[in-house]
Symmetry: C2
């Protein structure tokens, strides 16, 4: 499987969706899937599916359909989820959102090992979050000097984000962020990778759809 160098982020961002469908199909015991079926699931055309896959060498023969388990494994490998390589992550912020992320996500599915969780709130420090004990943010630099941290999950308030990122980037040399803070990391540090999660965006889209979907609005003030 050869990856082309010019794979666009748009294609990459579709891979998790393909992956989710394939996990579902495999669960249902489906063995083969056509690009037409995949296209329907993706709300795309079969030609776009084939074009997406051609970025990674095609993932199988056209005309015969794709082998579900094999395609799932191939995408797993492309995404780096096959656990041949694992990444160490720290979680910064053990408030409501941090706790939810920690409990809701099975990081092992992503080949990610959460190695520590930090907060500055004395009320949280010493408490358990899953298998980890919440530590003071003061321990962070020491940890980063003893093991290689590949990724920080940021669940702290936006107004505290920039200072924390300055620290993580400059002192701990962390370049990869799963970022729930709203602060735009890549704008300040160009050599970082960050996925910024704006939960509100999907809610706004839903508001738009409710408003314009032909449903009678509930009340006009």
């Amino acid at each position: 499987m050869e990856k082309k160098n010019d794979v666009s982020m748009a294609v990459v961002k579709r891979l998790p969706k393909y992956y989710r469908f394939l996990v579902e199909l495999e669960k249902q015991g489906v063995l083969k899937v056509s690009s037409n079926t995949l296209a329907e699931m993706m709300v795309a055309t079969a030609s776009q599916v084939r074009q997406d896959f051609s970025c990674f060498g095609g993932f199988g023969q056209q005309g015969y359909g794709y082998n579900v388990s094999q395609l799932k494994r191939e995408i797993e490998t492309v995404l780096g989820l096959n656990k041949l390589v694992r990444y160490n992550a720290i979680l910064v912020g053990a408030g409501n959102l941090g706790r939810a992320i920690s409990w809701h996500m099975d990081f092992d599915d992503f080949a990610i090992t959460p190695v520590a969780v930090f907060d500055k709130n004395p009320e949280y420090i010493g408490k358990k979050m899953k298998t980890l004990t919440i530590q003071s943010i003061n321990n962070l630099e020491k940890l980063c000097s003893s093991i290689n941290i590949n990724l920080a999950v940021l669940c702290l308030p936006e107004e505290e984000a920039e200072e924390m990122v300055d620290f993580l980037y400059n002192k701990c040399h962390i370049k990869n962020y799963w970022n729930f803070t709203g602060f735009d990391i890549s704008n300040k540090y160009k050599d970082t990778f960050s996925e910024n999660v704006y939960l509100g965006d999907s809610l706004m889209t839903l508001c738009y759809r409710i408003r314009h979907g032909g449903k009678k609005p509930p009340e006009e003030i």
Copy 2:
């Protein structure tokens, strides 16, 4: 401001991002913004920005730049965030994720009023979640018959989602869902609007970028 009827979901999904930038610009005291600057922020072309806005009547004059506050208000109106119309929401699931969503999101910014929160876990029932008291799921049908619920926020486990949606759709006539469960609602009920939030998708994208970004992998097993 005239909305065309053929506005694609791709355009709609970009509006929250424009909106976030405009909120930021307004905060910084910026009065005018060009389509070039907006394009740069959006990682798009100025022509795409103008094309996006043309779906809603253009939002101002080309060549003079856009008035930041006015553009923000126009997008607010398009998205239905201007609070002329408000929506009633219920939250189903008061576990870690439900609590995080409840505390993290300021629903009022979206012109949404959370009117009740439900769970089936007796441990949660009677406890407070922000200003609301967590109620037994058994009270849900009664509430839905007394007030108009426009939207359900689903924060329950995937394996409980289908049964809950069957109930909400058939008994409470709720057609709009902000859905964190992973269950594909629109596939079963075609006349629903749902925004499905898959937190894992962005983490997978990040894994891909870490893996293919040229950074040395941490360890090969």
